[in-house]
């Protein structure tokens, strides 16, 4: 807390919530959970994948983030998955968790992984404006596996 912290009830529309806004009252770093921090600092599935036979890449038009997903499929199963790209902590963590979830699964099952699966592991309170950061790797993975 710094000395500029004011009485939380002094907001413009304090009746709605202590922050005086529709969603402004909550505080806390929950958007950046421990899992996200850990995966951002030390991603386990980041890097190029030798022998990748399924590759896709796309950008998030909101921020220009670019994610490339590389998968090696053998006998209908995701043998290995990796990602590269310029992306924020949330997007990087999502891609890293997704690659981990995908490995070892049948292609159809891996292509069906969705944001609920990833969010279940990230354990973070992702704001609506950042959901695209979570979903970008998921759509790119799906693209790679279905084309």
């Amino acid at each position: 807390m710094t000395n500029r912290d004011a009485n939380p009830s002094a907001g413009f529309a304090g009746a709605i919530d202590p922050g005086g806004g529709l969603a402004g009252g909550r505080r806390g770093p929950l958007q950046y959970s421990d899992v996200i921090r850990e995966r951002w600092r030390r991603p386990r599935f980041r890097g190029d994948l030798a022998g990748a036979n399924k590759v896709a890449e796309d950008v998030n038009p909101l921020c220009g983030d670019r994610v490339r997903v590389m998968v090696r499929v053998a006998d209908g199963t995701v043998a290995a998955a990796r990602f590269t790209g310029d992306s924020c902590a949330i997007c990087t963590a999502s891609a890293d968790v997704l690659a981990e979830l995908a490995e070892g699964r049948p292609v159809r099952e891996a292509a069906g992984l969705d944001s609920e699966d990833v969010l279940g592991i990230l354990q973070a309170d992702i704001r609506p404006t950042r959901m695209r950061c979570v979903t970008l790797p998921i759509t790119v993975m799906r693209q790679a596996l279905t084309t």
Partner: protein, 405 residues
């Protein structure tokens, strides 16, 4: 008294608590906050005087028309335009450029060129691409020098007999670079081109005088200069507007209509089809009144000092890169920066936890981001209510960022 001490209490939103902290709003270049007088002028208008303008022969219609046209005259004086016929209300800067690109585009032929710059906002790129498309018209762009200013030698080289339109920003929304409008405009006109200036980041911060700038068209938005969203201004030289065939049609912009043809209305209504943003014009008028009371010279001086302070304090933090001209050069009220190892969106989200609102991303200037060699940046921007304490709190928070993620 410092300007922000004088103005702060006039902006009710600055009382907001965000994530447990007093709001530090440093995203005014995206959209500024509104003083109480603007909010009240608009609600008074809706509560007392609202009706459609121009053809309503009753008391409210006359009041609404009077207010709408008074707003136009207020804008005319604010920007030093020669007559109110030169002031066209649009829906914003993007809309104004799009209107021009549509109308001027029709006059282009195969082989013609449009000259823009590498520091343009997408709003001053895409409409020109659309005007050029399918017409065999080429788009050329003036590169930047390493210090983030336009390469004026390259400008001279690129300006040729085929250049029909030269479009550039007055102040960069990322680098804060202030372009020498009058100088560029004079050269472009000598070469026979029409000059369009994007004033979105200049109108809120600098004293403007159209005859001094001496360009052909100048566009800006209300919402970045303390006014409401949904309205903007297109200023054009009267002789050029007279000769420009409107590309958008509908009511209001006509004098007489037959089934297969029509006669256009006089200026400026010729370029304002449909019911205009009336309450927004009233709000814009109140915003201009507010700015004029402060004095635009004082506003410019206040924000220049904040930009200088931000450049100096941020650049002194290890791992922080500040983009654009150095602190010694006069620049606009924006400061873009990056923090080594942190993505701009994470910077903005972490600062938001401290109640500090900054912009992050490509700032609708992807070609410029490529020039900067980054995907995006964070950006702090200032207005009349921004204070040196706001800037210091930002610098303090930015300094602590790397330990947080």
């Amino acid at each position: 008294m410092r300007l922000d001490e004088h103005t702060r209490a006039d902006f009710p939103i600055l009382e907001r608590i965000v994530n447990g902290h007093r709001l530090i709003y440093l995203d005014s270049a995206a959209s500024s906050q509104k003083p109480r007088t603007v909010i009240e002028a608009m609600s008074q208008y809706y509560a007392r005087s609202h009706a459609n303008v121009h053809r309503s022969i009753h008391t409210l219609g006359e009041e609404a028309t009077e207010l709408y046209e008074a707003a136009r005259e207020r804008v005319q004086r604010f920007i030093g335009a020669a007559s109110r016929e030169e002031v066209v209300f649009t829906h914003g800067t993007t809309d104004g450029i799009d209107l021009l690109a549509g109308a001027l585009g029709r006059t282009l032929r195969a082989g013609d060129e449009i000259l823009i710059t590498d520091m343009e906002h997408h709003s001053n790129i895409i409409p020109w691409q659309m005007a050029a498309r399918d017409r065999g018209v080429a788009i050329r762009s003036v590169p930047l020098r390493p210090d983030g200013t336009l390469d004026l030698d390259a400008f001279e080289r690129l300006l040729g007999p085929r250049t029909r339109i030269v479009a550039f920003t007055h102040v960069s929304n990322v680098l804060g670079t202030i372009n020498p409008v009058a100088r560029l405009a004079a050269r472009a006109r000598q070469a026979g081109a029409v000059v369009v200036v994007d004033g979105a980041q200049a109108a809120p911060h600098l004293p403007l005088n159209m005859s001094a700038l001496d360009c052909d068209y100048y566009v800006f938005s209300s919402h970045k200069m303390l006014g409401p969203t949904g309205i903007g201004v297109l200023w054009g030289r009267r002789a050029l507007l007279e000769a420009l065939e409107p590309a958008r049609g509908g009511s209001e912009m006509i004098k007489e209509v037959w089934i297969d043809h029509a006669r256009w209305n006089d200026l400026p209504w010729r370029f304002e089809p449909g019911t205009p943003p009336i309450a927004e014009a009233v709000g814009l008028m109140a915003a201009i009144e507010y700015l004029e009371k402060l004095g635009m010279d004082r506003v410019a001086e206040h924000e220049r000092a904040l930009a200088r302070q931000a450049v100096e304090q941020l650049a002194a933090i290890p791992g922080v890169t500040v983009f654009g001209p150095p602190a010694t050069v006069e620049r606009g009220a924006v400061v873009a920066f990056s923090v080594e190892g942190l993505h701009p969106h994470d910077i903005a989200a972490l600062l938001d936890q401290e109640g500090i609102a900054v912009r992050a991303g490509h700032h609708c200037a992807q070609p410029l981001m490529r020039w900067c060699g980054v995907v995006g940046t964070a950006r702090a921007s200032f207005s009349v209510y921004s204070s040196p304490e706001d800037v210091s709190l930002l610098s303090h928070a930015v300094g602590a960022l790397r330990s947080q993620l």
